[in-house]
């Protein structure tokens, strides 16, 4: 019976998350897939149209451009976030005094409602013209979103750093390792699980970037910041074409999943 008992225990521990996810994450996703195979406008009637939405998207130059834009944005946002968050976490670990104050200050942007930070940021960026030029707008948006979100990654990495056994670091110091060597050969490997989490979560989040774009540039100029998630919103809530919006959402989901699985292969080798 121990086998059965063990299985039941596993099930019991998983049950809350499984039930909640099944009902409120999977089911709506199935609904979205269903929507993507239909033609639906709010208040109207459903009409099953098969893969027509997907075919239409494949031929939609605006949609394809939004794919490229999103990938570029992710490539900007994720490394920047990791560097800033890791740097801040290391600094936070290294300061002798005032850690609480610094941590609160660094975390403040995350805690505030974005719309209002955006108002201020727009004002700050206005004279620079970075939001105006298609060539620089994604960089500007990446900077603003890193400012807003790095607190999350920083706290996770900080917790990870604090987890590193003191003895290992001490032993390395006694062995004559420099700060850089300690970082590279002791800290970084120990941080791998936390780093993996940060990279995956920031990547997925960057693929879904909407609020930043909506508030700061509305997808412009000339669609230079028209990301996939923005396209989902546009097709759905501006043009009322929910079938197409859902299809775009499914495409976004598929890409994010593929990239995450690739990252898993690189960073998260299971025991």
């Amino acid at each position: 019976m121990p086998r059965l008992r063990a299985s039941l225990t596993v099930l019991a521990f998983l049950l809350p998350v499984l039930v909640l996810s099944a009902a409120f994450r999977f089911l709506p996703m199935v609904g979205a897939v269903g929507l993507s195979l239909s033609e639906y406008h709010p208040g109207g009637r459903w009409k099953f149209v098969g893969t027509e939405n997907y075919r239409s998207l494949a031929g939609d130059e605006i949609f394809l451009a939004s794919l490229r834009t999103t990938v570029t944005y992710v490539a900007l946002h994720v490394p920047l976030t990791v560097v800033v968050a890791l740097g801040s976490a290391l600094l936070l670990n290294a300061v002798p005094r005032g850690r609480s104050l610094f941590r609160a200050a660094l975390f403040a942007p995350y805690a505030t409602s974005f719309v209002l930070g955006a108002v201020v940021w727009r004002r700050v960026l206005e004279p620079t013209g970075f939001l105006e030029q298609p060539s620089t707008v994604l960089v500007a948006l990446a900077v603003v979103s890193v400012w807003k979100g790095f607190g999350y990654a920083m706290l996770v990495l900080f917790a990870g750093i604090r987890n590193v056994p003191r003895d290992c670091l001490e032993a390395a110091t006694v062995d004559g390792a420099s700060a850089w060597q300690r970082f590279r050969h002791v800290l970084l490997p120990a941080l791998r699980p936390a780093l993996f989490f940060v990279i995956v979560v920031e990547t997925v989040g960057a693929f879904q970037v909407f609020d930043t774009v909506y508030v700061m540039t509305g997808g412009g100029p000339v669609r230079a910041s028209y990301t996939l998630a923005y396209a989902v919103y546009d097709y759905g809530f501006r043009y009322f074409d929910f079938g197409r919006a859902a299809a775009a959402g499914v495409v976004l989901w598929a890409i994010a999943l593929l990239v995450s699985l690739g990252q898993r292969r690189a960073f998260d080798r299971s025991p």
């Binding site: 709010p42 208040g43 105006e132 298609p134 509305g218 997808g219 412009g220 000339v222």
Partner: protein, 409 residues
């Protein structure tokens, strides 16, 4: 173990009971937006409406005040979930889309019984294919608002009223580091408030008369876009014009960083006056090039096709469109009543000035694909503004995309 289990069951049961309460399915529901700026005053008004209607008709009424923000998402989600209201406030540019989706019921019968004559322009704006889909509640007007002080400081004595005058005054203001016109180029900003009024002032229009093709790539359209591009070259527009979405209270005139705006609402004008001083604020007629034109949209109450209580809802529509209710709503919200003989909603100075702009206000071409057209056109306007293309090319490219889209539906 037993005690804990019993407690858990008790809590869950209580919770279920608590959660399942709350069904007043007998009421007619109306979704309203905060058209009355003062929260307390607004609550009082709608409470009075509820009581008045319930007394007269012996039907329960529930008025639910929704925020303006994300209202498309909320209405769309509720309609899909079968959870929508019976009656909802819609602006005229939203109606064609909903009619196209067959989400609304026609309300000609209610309109026919109106106690007072409604302006034909309003009726027209709220109709699709000669059937009315909303009972008019108010109309908005936008017009030009100036910061007198900035003009005076730059040595401009006469506030500009035509395009030529604006272009003449722009360099003087630019010399003081002030762009003359606050303009929003973001795709999130409705073209009805930015480019289209200029297009109309040049004598052009967005669609051809039959609505099957675009008409903005005309000489008039080019002239309007060139006006903007020329202004921008003289530093007459804000530096971030292409992605800018100016909304009070963060717009450039309120914050003293532009000298005028060409399509401001009365509320916006009040915000400006509060910020820079009433003495420094001037409200003028809409700008003129070949003609004087500005944007002004009626809004009305629409009956949803999936309304749970359609008969009572029609009674509600009749009640709400009565002059007693409409006039008080307009007085409190400072919007204009939809009657033919229109007077300012109140004796407020700002309202009186805006009333002068009323004859020039138009809701523009209502077309089910109007918003899609805006989405296709706006990026091209941005391209012209940032200089990657000429006005002619920008409009021509946009027209090609729009015509293709209109053809394919």
């Amino acid at each position: 173990m037993n005690k804990q289990a019993a407690l858990l069951v008790a809590v869950l049961t209580a919770a279920c009971v608590a959660a399942c309460g709350n069904d007043s399915d007998d009421a007619v529901t109306l979704w309203m937006f905060p058209v009355i700026a003062d929260e307390a005053s607004g609550r009082d008004f709608w409470q009075k409406v509820e009581e008045g209607f319930e007394r007269e008709n012996h039907v329960d009424l529930r008025v639910e005040l929704q925020p303006w923000a994300s209202r498309q998402e909320k209405l769309g989600a509720s309609l899909m979930a079968g959870d929508g209201p019976d009656v909802v406030l819609l602006q005229s540019d939203m109606i064609p889309q909903y009619v196209d989706a067959k989400a609304l019921q026609p309300v000609d019968d209610v309109l026919a019984n109106s106690e007072r004559a409604i302006s034909p322009a309003v009726v027209d704006a709220l109709s699709v294919d000669d059937r009315s889909y909303a009972v008019p509640l108010y109309r908005t007007v936008t017009t030009t608002v100036y910061n007198r002080k900035l003009f005076a400081e730059a040595g401009v004595t006469e506030l500009p009223q035509t395009w030529d005058e604006v272009k003449a005054a722009a360099p003087k203001l630019a010399a003081h580091g002030i762009p003359i016109l606050d303009y929003s180029g973001s795709t999130e900003a409705s073209l009805n408030l930015s480019f289209y009024p200029l297009l109309w002032q040049a004598g052009g229009s967005v669609f051809t008369a039959d609505g099957t093709k675009s008409a903005f790539a005309s000489a008039e359209g080019v002239s309007a876009l060139r006006f903007l591009v020329d202004l921008d070259a003289m530093h007459g527009l804000p530096a971030d014009v292409a992605t800018r979405h100016s909304e009070p209270p963060d717009d450039a005139v309120t914050t003293g960083r532009a000298a005028m705006a060409h399509t401001m609402t009365a509320d916006g004008a009040r915000t400006v006056a509060a910020a820079i001083g009433a003495r420094n604020t001037a409200i003028g007629l809409p700008l003129r090039d070949r003609t004087r034109a500005t944007y002004g949209t009626p809004a009305g109450l629409s009956l949803l096709r999936d309304a749970k209580k359609p008969d009572e809802a029609r009674k509600l529509l009749a009640y709400l469109m009565s002059p007693a209710v409409v006039d008080e709503l307009c007085a409190k919200s400072h919007y204009f009543p939809p009657w033919t003989a229109s007077s300012p909603p109140s004796t407020d100075e700002v309202d009186k000035e805006f009333a002068q702009a009323l004859p020039f206000a138009s809701p523009g071409d209502t077309h089910p694909l109007a918003r899609k057209v805006m989405g296709l056109l706006a990026p091209h306007l941005q391209a012209a503004l940032i200089g990657t293309t000429t006005p002619e090319r920008a409009l021509a490219d946009a027209a090609a995309e729009v015509d293709a889209m209109l053809r394919d539906g």
